[in-house]
Symmetry: C2
Subunit: 250 residues, 2 copies
Amino acid sequence: MLTRHLLRNRLTELSDDERAALEGAVAQTRQYAAGQVVVRQGTPIEVSTLLVEGMMTRHVDAPDGRRHLVAVHVPGDFVDLHAYALKKLDHDVGALTDVTVAVVPHVALERLQAADPGITRPLWFQTLLDAAMHRQWIYRLASLNAMQRVAHFLCETNARLLAIGASDGEHFALPMTQGDIGEVCSLTNVHVSRVLRELRERGLCQVRSSHVHITDLRSLTQMALFDPEYLYLQPAMARRAAGIDEAPHG
Amino acid sequence: MLTRHLLRNRLTELSDDERAALEGAVAQTRQYAAGQVVVRQGTPIEVSTLLVEGMMTRHVDAPDGRRHLVAVHVPGDFVDLHAYALKKLDHDVGALTDVTVAVVPHVALERLQAADPGITRPLWFQTLLDAAMHRQWIYRLASLNAMQRVAHFLCETNARLLAIGASDGEHFALPMTQGDIGEVCSLTNVHVSRVLRELRERGLCQVRSSHVHITDLRSLTQMALFDPEYLYLQPAMARRAAGIDEAPHG
DNA sequence: CGCTAGCTTGATCTCACTCAATAGCAGTGG
DNA sequence: CCACTGCTATTGAGTGAGATCAAGCTAGCG
């Protein structure tokens, strides 16, 4: 089911009916290769993209040729749902890995809304989650040092993957180069390398060739001043994401 | 009219009927003194706040006691409309100056939506504008140096005030201390002071005691790499905001 | 095998921070 | 009226986190 990861384990979830309805709004699935730009900034768009498999990015192209990531997306994210209301985007959307996406035409969303106005709320919620993550990225850049930033990003990614079952709370795949991580945290690849070594030496986590192993989630969370509140996860999931309740009972 | 500045001069606007309907959803107006915290992070909320007069902030309280602004709001902004869908906020909302706000209960918004589903779109749009500004704040912190950041913020504020008629394109009131500007741009008050001197000496703009005078908008815009696209302004307004068309004809 | 992309490590540099001192100005109270 | 307090702005000197530059290393791949 293409929408199986959408709004999973969040405070606002989709009912089975809503999920089915949304599924029916999918026009087609599509594949993109790693590195491809899927939506170019400023282009008028009439469809939105639900990420089914792989990872995608949203990034601003700076005039000096450098780019900067403003969001990283995991399966279940409605990557450019905001285009439904905005009609064009203020940034690019790209494939970080080879990806599978579901294409949802805006006219289909309109029909859906007309048929069931209640569907609007969870979709709106989804775009607001994005905004909440943006705010946390601002905080990360403004208030944390290099090691905290990287740690915070790893905690966030772990939490989001946890919610869709793509992390067990300690291990997850992260198909990003150190340069990519640098574009998220506004650091050079050189410095990311040093930071990752330090994190390894401190016994907090190991990041190697597209795979992350968090060895001490509790400490990593504290060091990064990470609080998953802004992800609006269900309480049990939020506790696991913060390393408070790693082995949930019941 | 309390909602007169809401979505003014944007690509998505409110119809007269919608504006009137929204006006009817206002339960009361309220005043807050400068410095007051209006909404505390995490508190369940059942109303949203439309800023009528003055300026407000949204900021994250860091554990070390420092705070960091993630948004500055001007009249016409629906400051915490996102609480309508999120139900609680991941940040604080505060009054930067003495402010007048209109309080809109969420139940009134629900009634409004039920009566006229079309109202949803512009409201959603408004929250997406916020997200677009967040993205630009990320870009600003990540890619610009101190002087560019301050200049970019001044350009943005000028553009937003222009849209509601609170700037003539060159002069506007900015009731922020240099420390406040520092919290926006992630700089110390000391460095903001130096940057403002430099901007003055370069003949780009003068910031003094709560008043900004932009003396060379075109150059300031270029220096800051500011592009108002992300504000989704109507074309004529966007040109003025970028200093391309300062004296509109016709 | 050689090529390229990614990672690592070292040396040096720089932008903005920190610390510190001074001045201006508003409000408050004697 | 002046003294005192607190907030804001300004300027200088020294410091440091992360950037930049440069060189070598590793691994996957045609």
